[in-house]
């Protein structure tokens, strides 16, 4: 039993650098009405298989999406119309990127990588809430990991099997 305890403790001690099981966002909070660097951390593949594709859905209220290209990956931006027009520093914006796909890569199950977007969080988003970015990892043989569940009222990420990565929204920075 001591061994198990030690193993657990050791695993925990290494935790800071060890891989996280979920796809998660590195920066946990951000004010609305500001630019946000969404850094998606991909800790492992699907059931031991390497990741070939990462697909991120852009939630409503998030505009001016600019993905960061990655060597060895093909970048695709799927555009569409927003539910409404958002204000982007005085410019009304009604359409833009709604989905970003990095494909053709090969990220081993025992490797770690980050996928980055620069986005603008509009003031229409509610401070105090958590904004979720559903992410799908696709691997060979039709296997996939889908981090797409968004907690319902009264639920937390822990209640979900496949929680989508989220960022806590803060009040807009004053004096801007």
């Amino acid at each position: 039993m001591l061994r198990t305890t030690l193993a657990t403790v050791a695993a925990l001690a290494l935790g800071t650098s060890a891989a996280f099981a979920h796809v998660s966002l590195q920066l946990k909070d951000a004010p609305v009405g500001s630019t946000y660097r969404a850094i998606f951390q991909v800790p492992h593949g699907c059931e031991g298989k390497p990741t070939n594709l990462v697909r991120v859905q852009i939630p409503e209220g998030v505009i001016a999406v600019k993905p960061q290209p990655k060597a060895g990956w093909t970048l695709e931006k799927i555009k569409g119309t927003y539910a409404k027009s958002y204000d982007y520093y005085g410019t009304p914006t009604g359409e833009g990127v709604k989905e970003v796909v990095w494909s053709g890569g090969n990220l081993g199950d025992d490797e770690y990588d980050e996928f980055v977007l620069r986005v603008y969080l509009t003031k229409d988003l509610k401070a105090g809430e958590t904004l979720h970015f559903p992410v799908v990892q696709e691997c060979p043989d039709g296997v996939a990991e889908r981090w797409i569940e968004i907690p319902a009222e009264g639920q937390s990420d822990d209640d979900l099997e496949l929680p989508a990565p989220g960022v806590k929204l803060l009040e807009a920075a004053s004096g801007h």
Binding site: M1, R3, T4, T5, A7, T8, V9, A11, L12, A13, G15, T16, A18, A19, F20, A21, H22, S24, K28, H44, E47, G48, R55, Q57, P134, V136, R146, I148, E149, D157, D158, L162, P163
Partner: protein, 532 residues
């Protein structure tokens, strides 16, 4: 066990504290990456170790093995190496389906759970659970009434037919024949109420209740009772009429009474009905002709003289054909009902059939002795032989009564055919939410290897094809953690998983994970009852 749980809790607690001390708050859920024996595998020899591999380091909280008989055993002996948990399997594993239910804690102290299944030899179905309690008084009354109906039909109606058509010298037996008919009539009437009590599951004290009688009338037995009563009535009121009327009436009563048997019961409901119903009819009719002739024959023999000899001659010419038809019909019925030889020994129905066949063997022995040892001397007019034959006929009658008593227990034993049919019934549930609904069917709806299929519909009943469908089965009461099986889309638009083994009977929780699009997942959940 308690001790281990306690330690595990401390570990979780320690882990929690440590985690808080570390700057980064990372979420980490371990996921299962490998199992030996593989999930759903059938192995020929019991495994010595069971192993679980995870995507990251874990430590076990609870490891339980659910055995084929439904008992759970906690597994305490394991070795944790790297990310793999090597568990020593108990040495005395029996053949059948086992469930390894695991609950581990991953690095963040978050418990993760699941179940995997493996079978030794072949997948097993679950042991029978206790059936509902049997109301013995009602059952005993039903049994007695059934015997009395047989006596009335075979000795009463059959006896009248014999006196009128075959053995005119047996008219001394008429009082007994009338008594038997009357007994049959009373028992038939009473059995309607008893049948109702049995159908309602009500106690004997409710026999005066109208609802019991109404319920009895509504069963398939209701029609049998009506026709039987008509046959008994006809036999009683015409028993003392002129020969012509009585002859016609006794024939009509015989046909109606035998026909009544074919209107209900296990055998009559078996397929193919065009064959089974006539078989029941012929079986009943030939029994009545043969058995009904026995008491009149005994009376005629006691009288002795020409009358007795005539009667015996008539009886021994006709009865062999009767018995041949009787045996043929009986064999046919038994073949259809029992289906396979082993069921003779393994089912109550088969056991009753065996007992009946043993009695029939004894009966036929007496018949053969009568036919070849006594008949010739009696026909030659030897008085000693006549008396001995008379006694032998009484013995025959006794054995026949025993056969009735045994056959009457069939009322309570479903034939193997019906049991196999009931077990093969699928179990279905309909799960509805505001995003999707699923019509899920387990075939068969009993424990063991099953095929799970689902039809997925939009809430407005329009069909749509999701990207993926996964069935997740768990049984919280038995400690079986979720087992997942991916379904495959079939040509007919349904989703099917055929590699599912439901290890235990009872209530299972089924979750259907429907991936509508890349980013939209709907989970439907409900309970489904799996039969033993």
């Amino acid at each position: 066990m308690r001790d281990q749980l306690g330690r595990s809790c401390i570990q979780v607690f320690l882990a929690g504290i440590l985690w808080c001390c570390l700057a980064a708050a990372a979420m980490a859920h371990a996921s299962l990456t490998g199992v030996v024996p593989a999930d759903g595998a059938v192995v020929s020899v019991p495994p010595k170790t069971l192993s679980l591999s995870f995507s990251e380091p874990v430590s076990p909280l609870v490891l339980r093995l659910i055995l084929p008989d439904g008992q759970a055993r906690t597994l305490e002996s394991f070795v944790l190496g790297d990310r793999t948990l090597e568990i020593s399997a108990p040495g005395d594993l029996a053949a059948g389906t086992h469930v390894l239910a695991w609950r581990v804690v991953s690095e963040d102290g978050h418990p993760v759970a699941g179940s995997t299944i493996f079978s030794i030899g072949a997948p097993s179905s679950a042991p029978q659970v206790d059936r509902e309690a049997i109301d013995w008084p009602v059952r005993a009354e039903l049994w007695l009434s059934r015997i009395a109906i047989y006596i009335g039909l075979f000795f009463g109606i059959g006896g009248l037919f014999a006196v009128r058509w075959l053995i005119p010298g047996g008219a001394d037996g008429l009082p007994i024949i009338r008594a038997a008919t009357l007994l049959g009539m009373v028992a038939t009437t009473l059995s309607l109420g008893l049948q109702g009590l049995d159908a309602l599951g009500a106690p004997l004290s409710n026999l005066m209740d109208r609802t019991a009688w109404r319920a009895g009338l509504d069963t398939s037995f209701g029609l049998t009772v009506m026709v039987l009563l008509a046959a008994f009535l006809l036999a009683i009121i015409t028993s003392s009429r002129s020969l012509v009327v009585s002859r016609a009436a006794s024939l009509a009563a015989l046909v109606a009474g035998s026909g009544a048997l074919a209107l209900s019961g296990h055998a009559s409901s078996a397929a193919p009905q065009w064959l089974m119903r006539p078989a029941v009819f012929v079986h009943g009719l030939t029994i009545a002709v043969w058995i009904g002739a026995l008491p009149p024959l005994a009376y005629a023999l006691r009288q002795g003289g020409d009358l007795g000899r005539q009667a015996l001659g008539c009886f021994s010419r006709l009865i062999p054909f009767c018995v041949a038809a009787l045996t043929l019909a009986g064999l046919l019925l038994a073949l259809v009902q029992v289906e396979e030889f082993g069921a003779l020994f393994s089912t109550a129905y088969g056991n009753v059939l065996l007992a009946k066949m043993a009695l029939l063997a004894a009966l036929f022995l007496v018949v053969v002795i009568n036919r070849w040892v006594f008949t010739k001397p009696v026909e030659r007019g030897e008085g000693d032989a006549t008396r001995r034959l008379g006694r032998a006929v009484v013995v025959e009658t006794m054995i026949v009564l025993a056969v009735f008593a045994v056959a009457a227990t069939w009322r309570f034993t479903p034939p193997p055919r019906a049991m196999a049919l009931a077990a093969a019934q699928p179990a279905s549930i309909h799960i509805h939410s505001d995003k999707a609904m699923a019509e899920v069917t387990f075939t068969p709806g009993r424990a063991g290897p099953v095929e799970v299929s689902a039809i997925i519909l939009a809430p407005d009943f329009s069909p749509f094809t999701p990207k993926e469908v996964t069935f997740v089965l768990s049984n919280p009461k038995s400690g079986i953690e979720p087992m997942r099986r991916r379904a495959a889309l079939q040509a007919d638009g349904s989703w099917r998983a055929s590699d599912v083994v439901v290890p235990l009977a009872g209530q299972w929780r089924l979750r259907v994970d429907i991936l509508i699009s890349d980013f939209e997942l709907v989970r439907l959940q409900d309970d489904v009852e799996i039969a033993p």
